[in-house]
């Protein structure tokens, strides 16, 4: 997960129209709409020069942030890109095999109640 230092309030305003950085595409290429708290991470595969579409600076920023496991919502916050744009760019990276979705399966021995108890303890400790 990202260090909290990236969570800085900042002036937030688009410099270009949101979907300009996706080449006008508004739907993820693979059709999968990732949940806001879906976690993604790099696979370790290097990006080749022949990969398509060619990586834009925004792709590379996302790729850099994906070195550590990170949620879609955090990516959107860290890049200040709209969530829809992040989804399109992520889909490109997933299709190219450089980023993958971390399936969130809690260990089988942990029941939902244990998870909720952990959240309760965490909240009480705040």
């Amino acid at each position: 997960m990202p260090p909290s230092g990236r969570w800085r309030p900042r002036d937030y305003g688009p410099v270009v129209r949101p979907y300009a950085v996706t080449g006008g595409r508004t739907e993820p290429a693979d059709g999968e709409v990732l949940d806001l708290i879906a976690v993604v991470v790099t696979t370790g595969r290097a990006v080749g020069p022949d990969d398509h579409p060619p990586l834009t600076p925004e792709h590379r920023r996302i790729l850099g942030l994906c070195q550590q496991q990170i949620t879609v919502a955090d990516l959107a916050a860290d890049t200040t890109l709209p969530v829809g744009v992040v989804r399109v760019l992520l889909a490109d990276l997933i299709t190219q095999g450089v980023v993958t979705v971390v399936r969130q399966r809690p260990p089988a021995q942990r029941t939902q109640n244990e998870v909720l108890q952990e959240i309760l303890n965490g909240l009480r400790a705040l």
Binding site: P9, L36, L116, E118, I119, L120, L123
Partner: protein, 203 residues
């Protein structure tokens, strides 16, 4: 590398999750204090995109009782609470106005539960959220945000006014206060746990 990892078939298996993310929703009418609440408890200030209210909003955005508010939150408010090393709780503010309700189902997907912030001066603005979470079967609590200049009502009166089921907690809160917000979230998670336990014993 590369030889042991098949990109198309994924035979290397998915990577192990470094943390598990959970989602809570913060709902409520326009100006009910959602942004304040998320900002009070999160380890960081929420990300927000605010749009200035223009004449286009007249008649759409109800400003009665909140005359000093000149901007409205049109994008997502969200905050993150890290617990220990493995659990991260995300708070998402649902855009309050009904004209943003197209975003609700996406945000509600996979959520543990919701807080509905109520402003007693404009209680009717809770109706869309109450109806929505009831129809989805998502556990929720109603938190009455005690604005300084708003009249005080007993939580039971609010429960009656909103026609809530007896198992829906109705609590008073101050969205600016960490301790108060913390208690609201604890009440919500306890409600979720109770619901889970009931559902489990029925099986």
């Amino acid at each position: 590398m590369g030889s042991e990892r098949s990109d198309s078939s994924g035979t290397a298996g998915p990577p192990e999750a470094a943390f598990t993310a959970y989602k809570l929703l913060i709902a409520g009418g326009f100006g009910s204090g959602k942004t304040t609440l998320v900002g009070a408890i999160s380890e960081v200030r929420p990300l927000r995109t605010e749009e200035t209210l223009t004449t286009a909003s007249v008649g759409l955005d109800d400003l009665s009782g909140v005359a000093s508010k000149s901007t409205t939150t049109v994008a997502l408010d969200f905050g993150r609470i890290t617990m220990g090393s493995k659990v991260v709780l995300y708070l998402f503010g649902l855009p309050g106005q009904e004209r943003f309700s197209f975003m609700w189902s996406e945000l509600a997907y996979g959520a543990l539960g919701a807080v509905i912030l109520a402003d007693v001066r404009r209680l009717d603005e809770c109706f869309p959220s109450v109806n929505y979470f009831e129809s989805r079967g998502l556990p929720f609590v109603v938190a009455i945000n005690c604005f300084d200049n708003a009249p005080r009502y007993d939580p039971e009166e609010v429960r009656l006014a909103l026609d809530l089921d007896p198992d829906v907690p109705t609590v008073l809160c101050d969205a600016r206060e960490v301790a108060s917000v913390k208690q609201v979230l604890i009440t919500l998670v306890e409600t979720v746990a109770r619901r889970t336990a009931t559902a489990g014993s029925r099986r």
